[in-house]
């Protein structure tokens, strides 16, 4: 099928299945996550269509689409305001299990992940182990056929909604810190697990701290061998960092700015879109976004030819997140005081009350706030620059 026909097919599907309520949840996104219920409702629809995991190999439930088609699909979904699916299971755990999981693990977990029966969160970071992940200290001590886990994970996104967590745990203190880490799958309703929500700067909860107090987990839940977890974790991080098309996020942001600029007036009483200073500033960021788009395309080309993005994915993470943040700043300047009202109830898709400010102003401040985290999670901007310095420049 040529790409145009494919795009038409995707659009027809979206037209049919993306209900106004689901779209609303997509419009109201102020971070990488959408409203949980809407996210899972959309997840199930895509599952029924067989489109929930386009990036997986066909044998495991993927779609068999070309890279181009996968990109088109992502783009159409995002620009028509579909709620984003949760990446922890589909983008991170799934591909990793396909590579490292045992046959039993694959047979058990992958179908449940695809159907949406299991919702996964990522238990990597700890209070004392952020950028220096390998220093993690949550311990798993062998006790018969089980491990006993003690410690805590922090910044665990959507732990409050998840029934499963994949964790890095310390199984040995010998040798290099990386050499004593194991990767384990844990049921969130096991005794001894408590979840404490963390209130974010926007006043809402996305992250949690997860405490493990003598949590008993079968040894069979290890992925890979004991003490081989670092290799597994790094493989998974490649999917967390790579694979994301920032260009599509930027297009959504630019569309929003254009809308603001065609409705709001500047200090001279002219529409912002006719303000040359604004246009120059917007163009400056848009040029970087375009340069990134062609970089993403270059990577796609390399992948198509069987290559590896290598450190270019660090480049994309840096430029993608920082460009997104610059777009947020432009919106803030257009909206001025209109960005200040704090109406978090209105960010729920089923809100029926009256908005204080225009729809496009409602999300402006929380997006600006939440997007500061984009240069922190998934390997901070400093760590990504270090990767380029070391791996590309050989410093």
């Amino acid at each position: 099928m040529n790409d145009n026909n494919f795009r038409a097919e995707v659009r027809a599907f979206l037209q049919e299945e993306l209900t106004p309520e689901l779209k609303r949840a997509g419009e109201l996104m102020t971070s990488v996550f959408a409203d949980f219920d809407a996210t899972m409702a959309w997840h199930r629809k895509l599952y029924q269509k067989g489109w929930v995991a386009p990036d997986w190999p066909e044998a495991y439930g993927g779609t068999g689409w070309t890279l181009n088609q996968r990109y088109i699909f992502q783009e159409e979904c995002k620009l028509s305001n579909a709620p984003a699916l949760l990446p922890m299971g589909l983008q991170m755990l799934g591909p990793m299990l396909i590579h490292y999981g045992s046959d039993e693990q694959k047979a058990h977990y992958l179908p449940r992940l695809l159907s949406g029966e299991d919702v996964w969160c990522q238990g990597y970071s700890e209070p004392g182990a952020g950028s220096d992940l390998a220093s993690l200290s949550t311990s798993a001590v062998r006790d018969g056929d089980d491990y006993l886990i003690n410690g805590s994970k922090i910044w665990t996104s959507y732990a409050q909604h998840s029934n499963k967590i994949f964790c890095l745990v310390r199984t040995s203190k010998e040798g290099a810190p990386q050499a004593g880490i194991s990767f384990i799958l844990v049921d969130m309703d096991t005794d001894g697990i408590t979840v404490e929500p963390i209130v974010g700067l926007d006043g809402r909860v996305e992250q949690c701290q997860v405490f493990f107090d003598g949590v008993r987990v079968p040894v069979a839940n290890l992925v890979g061998e004991e003490n081989q977890g670092w290799e597994v974790a790094k493989y998974l991080l490649e999917f967390e960092r790579g694979g994301h098309n920032f260009t599509i996020d930027h297009k959504k942001q630019m569309a929003k700015i254009r809308k603001q600029a065609s409705e709001e007036y500047d200090a001279d009483g002219c529409l912002w879109r006719d303000n040359s200073v604004f246009n120059a500033r917007f163009a400056e960021v848009a040029v970087d976004a375009l340069a990134l788009e062609y970089t993403e395309l270059r990577i796609k080309g390399a992948l198509n030819a069987g290559g590896n993005p290598g450190a270019l994915s660090s480049l994309c993470k840096i430029v993608g997140t920082e460009t997104g943040q610059r777009f947020n700043e432009i919106s803030m300047d257009i909206l001025g005081p209109q960005a200040l009202p704090f109406q978090i109830a209105a960010l729920e898709p089923d809100f029926e009350g009256e908005l204080i400010v225009a729809d496009y102003a409602l999300t402006c401040m929380p997006e600006y706030i939440n997007n500061r985290a984009a240069t922190i999670y998934g390997g901070s901007a400093e760590i990504q620059r270090d990767i380029i310095a070391k791996r590309v420049l050989g410093l």
Partner: protein
């Protein structure tokens, strides 16, 4: 130009520092922010008792005759402690407008109450989609005999929820886009026909949407000359911008201190993260930006007090520089804290939100750069 503070000014600075550091810790502040009114009347009363509210009013009306420098000193400390009580809205803006433009009768009715801590003021000017210049106001009122009739609405009126009186900028002549023809009218917030919808703002303060339907006000409530509100507003806006910038400088200095402290304590890769050169240089740049802002702030205060010819030019430079430096410092304070910097629990993000709110008022960086360019050609 070397600015030496007088004995009184030094005392004001020290008293503000001492009182707020002892009584307005971050935890206490968060309690106020999370209360229903997100405003503490006991604190406000203490500010009045300490003479802070009176500080910048003329002696004839019960003040201590302070000027831009006193406004700056106090505002900076309010910024350090992230004080949410509306000193800016009620005193720097509302109070100065009433004191400069109201009749003696109105002054004695409202200003005494304001100075003693019993009257809250809001300035209502911005309108939906038109909120970047006061000349862009369209709401019109009709004057007949000795009364004036208001119809229309105002959006994001800061301190609007707490306000006892609202100073409404509206047209008695001309049309949107013109500076002439604007009048400033004092309206009781509970006047018949005046309806407000109150809410909180992201920086922990309060605001409201106001609508006026057939609100009848005596003509004597017009502050300054009818149709010439901009003349009355100009000096107050100037001092207001200085006050906001000083608050931002206070917030920035707190962010620099907190980030330096945190990076010394936080260990990753077996050492304090303050050992990483990229972070050291970032903090050095934060410090540099902070001090540049402080220099512009002091110069502006001095020039405003001395009606210096360059006062407005310096003020435009200050607001523009505070916008970029404020963002740079706040963004990097969060960045260098990592995940913990993105939480409600730490004060870092609350400074960031206040700086963002300051940046969104009275002209963006681009606006003030353009103004600076224009003024420097004169």
């Amino acid at each position: 130009m070397y600015i030496e503070f007088s004995e009184e000014q030094r005392m004001l600075k020290e008293s503000a520092e001492k009182y707020l550091n002892e009584n307005y810790e971050f935890e206490a502040r968060q309690k106020i922010v999370k209360s229903d009114s997100n405003y503490c009347s006991t604190q406000w009363q203490t500010f009045a008792d300490l003479g802070w509210l009176a500080m910048t009013f003329a002696e004839e009306v019960g003040g201590f005759g302070g000027g831009a420098l006193e406004t700056m000193l106090l505002s900076e400390q309010l910024g350090v402690n992230l004080v949410v009580e509306p000193y800016f809205e009620t005193v720097v803006f509302g109070g100065q407008l009433i004191s400069a433009g109201a009749s003696d009768e109105i002054k004695s009715r409202y200003l005494d109450a304001l100075i003693s801590g019993h009257c809250q003021v809001a300035f209502a000017w911005s309108e939906t989609k038109h909120h970047h210049a006061m000349s862009d106001v369209a709401m019109a009122a009709s004057v007949s005999g000795d009364s004036i009739l208001l119809n229309g609405s105002k959006t994001v009126v800061l301190n609007g929820a707490a306000a006892d009186v609202v100073l409404v900028l509206l047209r008695t002549a001309g049309e949107r886009g013109q500076s002439d023809g604007l009048s400033l009218v004092l309206v009781d917030a509970d006047a018949e026909g005046c309806v407000r919808r109150s809410y909180k703002t992201y920086d922990g303060r309060n605001a409201a949407e106001f609508s006026f339907s057939n609100v009848n006000v005596p003509l004597a409530n017009v502050l300054g000359e009818q149709g010439s509100a901009m003349e009355l507003l100009a000096p107050v806006v100037n001092r207001g911008i200085l006050s906001l910038c000083a608050e931002a400088v206070g917030a920035m200095s707190a962010l620099v201190d907190a980030t330096v402290d945190y990076t010394k304590q936080r260990k990753q890769f077996g050492r304090s993260i303050s050992r990483f050169q990229v972070l050291r240089h970032r903090m050095a740049d934060m410090f540099i930006d902070l001090e540049l802002c402080r220099s512009l702030m002091l110069a502006t205060a001095w020039k405003l007090d001395h009606s210096d010819a360059d006062a407005e030019l310096t003020l435009a430079a200050l607001k523009a520089k505070v916008a970029s430096a404020g963002k740079f410092i706040a963004h990097n304070a969060i960045q260098l804290h990592g995940g913990i910097g993105t939480t409600d629990e730490l004060k870092i993000g609350h400074y960031f939100k206040r700086i963002a709110a300051i940046n969104s008022q009275f002209g963006s960086r681009d606006f003030h750069l353009a103004r600076f360019a224009q003024l420097s050609q004169k």
